[in-house]
């Protein structure tokens, strides 16, 4: 299941296109079912028939129709998009760094985006979302830059342990500064809700701004997927096959930046999606990133859509933070990976 032991084992090179196809088809069905379920669940009880009517016979005087169209639909869709984005970002990072525990949350990239967003909240509170999302890219880029820079300058690369440590430290420095700023500008309360991660406030407008970025990012990731597969076999092999490894890594970093930045600007710091999903997908479909990336996108969407239904249901009428729900799934998974601890760890 790990891509970090190339060639030596036949099993690790296996790909299962049929399984990937099944996964994608089943995943899309699950997302559609999840979107529907997400739209009918909430404080106000709404039936499927009402949902159907609200789409095809919209009546602006019907309160339920308005709730569906302005609150529930954008929220569900935002969940699917964000989940896909985090999962693909994680898959790319794991492939490029050949590191099984790479993830935007663990590596401090979400914290980077969050840090810049705090700056925006403090110094330019009235900024429109189209600009906020650009700042969020810059922040994610800062996080990517810090962690990659560390890996570049360290003596013999960063082992998974060191990468995890570096991510934890980068996160804690950035969130320390964020907290200091929020303390100074007294935006603690807003920030606590935002950083807990949640899509309850997503609107059509936000969805329409982030959708092109996320869809574009995933498309570029799919174009890049063949090169990432080769890169995940090892840098020398990739170079030997005539690949421009620097170019691939650079484009991959930009894609991660855009995907993580767009997601964080909408839902805040949700970690572990990018860690868990690609692992499960790799276990099921094999090592070819041409399959891993689309499957991760679909499964990431499934995970977040259903986790968000959980966020609505667990303590109705209160929202449970989405980030916490995902962490409850992600932490045991991380522990499992830590326990497996192979020699290279």
């Amino acid at each position: 299941m790990s891509q970090s032991q190339p060639i030596t084992k036949n099993a690790s090179l296996r790909t299962r296109p049929w399984m990937a196809t099944v996964l994608i088809v089943a995943g899309i069905c699950a997302i559609l079912f999840g979107l529907g379920s997400s739209i009918i669940t909430g404080v106000a009880n709404i039936s499927f028939a009402t949902v159907w009517n609200s789409i095809f016979h919209y009546d602006s005087s019907n309160e339920h129709h308005v709730i569906i169209q302005t609150l529930r639909m954008p929220r569900a869709l935002a969940g699917a998009l964000v989940g896909a984005a985090f999962a693909v970002a994680g898959a790319i990072m794991q492939g490029v760094t050949k590191n099984p525990i790479a993830d935007t949350g663990l590596m401090g990239i979400n914290a980077g985006a969050g840090f810049v967003l705090v700056l925006v909240f403090a110094f330019a509170p009235g900024l429109p979302f189209e600009s906020i999302i650009l700042f969020s890219f810059m922040g994610a880029g800062l996080g990517v830059g810090l962690v990659y820079g560390l890996a570049y300058f360290s003596k013999n690369g960063l082992t998974p342990l060191r990468l995890a440590l570096a991510g934890a430290i980068v996160s804690s420095i950035l969130s320390g500064i964020s907290q200091a700023i929020s303390l100074l500008f007294q935006i603690n309360y807003d920030l606590a809700f935002w950083s807990a991660g949640g899509i309850s406030t997503a609107e059509w407008f936000q969805v329409s701004v982030m959708m092109p970025w996320i869809v574009g990012g995933i498309i570029v990731a799919m174009i890049l997927s063949r090169s990432i597969t080769i890169l995940s076999l090892g840098e020398e092999i990739a170079a030997g096959l005539g690949q421009k490894t620097r170019l691939v890594k650079g484009v991959a970093a930009v894609v991660v930046m855009v995907l993580a930045g767009a997601s964080v600007s909408t839902v805040g710091g949700v970690g572990f999606v990018g860690l868990v999903v690609p692992h499960i997908v790799r276990f099921l479909v094999g090592v070819d990133y041409r399959w891993i990336i689309p499957c991760s996108a679909v499964m990431g969407g499934v995970l977040v859509v259903f986790a968000d239904i959980g966020a609505k249901m667990i303590a109705m009428p209160y929202e449970t933070p989405l980030g916490a729900i995902i962490a409850v799934i992600g932490v045991p998974f991380f522990l499992y990976l830590a326990r497996k601890e192979r020699r290279e760890w």
Binding site: L106, L150, F153, S154, K155, N156, L158, T159, P160, L161, R162, A164, L165, A166, A168, I169, V170, S172, I173, G176, I177, Q179, A180, L183, L184, N188, Y189, A192, F193, S195, A196, G271, Y318, T320, P321, G323, A324, A327, V328, G330, V331, F334, L335, L337, A338, R339, E341, W345
Partner: protein, 341 residues
């Protein structure tokens, strides 16, 4: 480089360094006494200490500043020595109560208390260290059990990775609890999590003091055991050290020190990492010399962090924990790059 670790030269150098750091700490203490939103000159400080101060000076000095600084010194020593123990027994220079998730466990226990009993001001201060201890002990036990593998024991790598994961899980639970607080308590909890030395009155000094008075000398007496444990398991075992028992006892000491410090100081990170590291650079790995310097460096760092935090922007205090992580974080990253492994 002198090869003989116990040489007279090294000993006298260590003693001189310990004295130097004690003097530095004293200077820091006096400087810190002068600074703050209401600045009091050195001469006035002396006057006030001798009982000749004005009412306001008395209040600021005796009721606000002095207890806070005493707590800073104790918290710094506690966290730094706790880090030194953890590094010794895990033979990994990157261990620290924060990274291992022990601080988050202590923090969660306190947070639970705050959210269940919103009138925290009424709670006896002696309760906090005990709650924190329960949280920290539970966390340490969980991490130890999860990292333990039959036949392999505890590997430092797995211990750290498990600590990071458990820490992330605990902070997710903390976030759920935090969001259910009212804005006033939230402000308190957020500030506390950043390491603000919030419990700064004489009651908290009294609550913290017994822990330090008992645990610090105990650990110092075990300096030789720590020397052996941090070298090599086989050597330690062949020299007749009962490994498991000593390791558990020392770990309990580390947990106690970290928990009581976190209960009063809040989530101050990096001290457990920086203190021992700086001390080791100065006097080498012998715990007899290293431990006192570790404690002094830790105290000095927290005191300086708190004083800076109070004086950078007097209107809104920056918590000591933030100041320290802004200095300590980059240093930690530098360590990550420089060391191999």
């Amino acid at each position: 480089m002198d090869i003989d670790l116990f040489s007279e030269k090294r000993k006298s150098r260590s003693v001189r360094l310990i004295l130097l750091f004690a003097v530095l700490l004293l200077v820091g203490f006096v400087l810190s006494l002068n600074t703050g939103p209401y600045s009091i000159g050195p001469f006035e400080v002396l006057q006030t200490l001798l009982g000749e101060g004005s009412k306001k000076q008395n209040l600021v000095l005796f009721e606000l500043r002095l207890p806070r600084m005493v707590i800073a010194v104790m918290v710094g020593a506690g966290l730094a020595v706790s880090g030194a123990i953890l590094q010794g027994i895990s033979r990994n220079g990157l261990s620290d109560p924060g990274i291992l998730g022990i601080s988050s466990g202590a923090g969660l226990a306190v947070l639970l208390f705050v959210s269940l009993y919103p009138a925290t001001n009424m709670a006896p201060p002696f309760l906090m260290p005990f709650l924190a201890l329960i949280g920290a002990t539970a966390t340490a036990t969980i991490i130890y059990m999860l990292a333990y593998k039959k036949g392999h024991g505890i590997s430092p790598t797995r211990l750290l990775l498990t600590g990071i994961a458990v820490g992330a899980g605990l902070s997710a639970i903390s976030i759920i609890l935090t969001l259910q607080l009212n804005p006033r308590n939230l402000e308190f909890v957020v500030t506390w999590q950043m390491g603000s030395l919030w419990g700064s009155n004489w009651k908290f000094v009294l609550a913290l003091l017994p822990w330090m008075v008992v645990l610090l000398p105990y650990v110092y007496r075990k300096a030789n055991v720590l020397n052996l444990l941090s070298m090599n398991e086989q050597i330690a075992a062949s020299l007749g050290v009962s490994l498991q028992r000593e390791r558990l006892a020392l770990m309990a000491g580390a947990v106690g020190l970290a928990a009581s410090s976190v209960a009063t100081g809040g989530g101050i990170g990096f001290i457990g990492l920086l203190g021992p590291h700086i001390a080791r650079r100065l006097v080498g790995p012998q715990h007899q010399y290293m431990l006192p310097i570790t404690a002094l460096v830790g105290s000095l760092l927290v005191l300086a962090g708190d004083t800076l935090g109070r004086s950078i922007m007097p209107a809104t205090e920056v918590p000591a924990g933030i100041v320290i992580s802004l200095i300590g974080g980059p240093y930690f990253l530098y360590l990550l790059i420089r060391t191999k492994g």
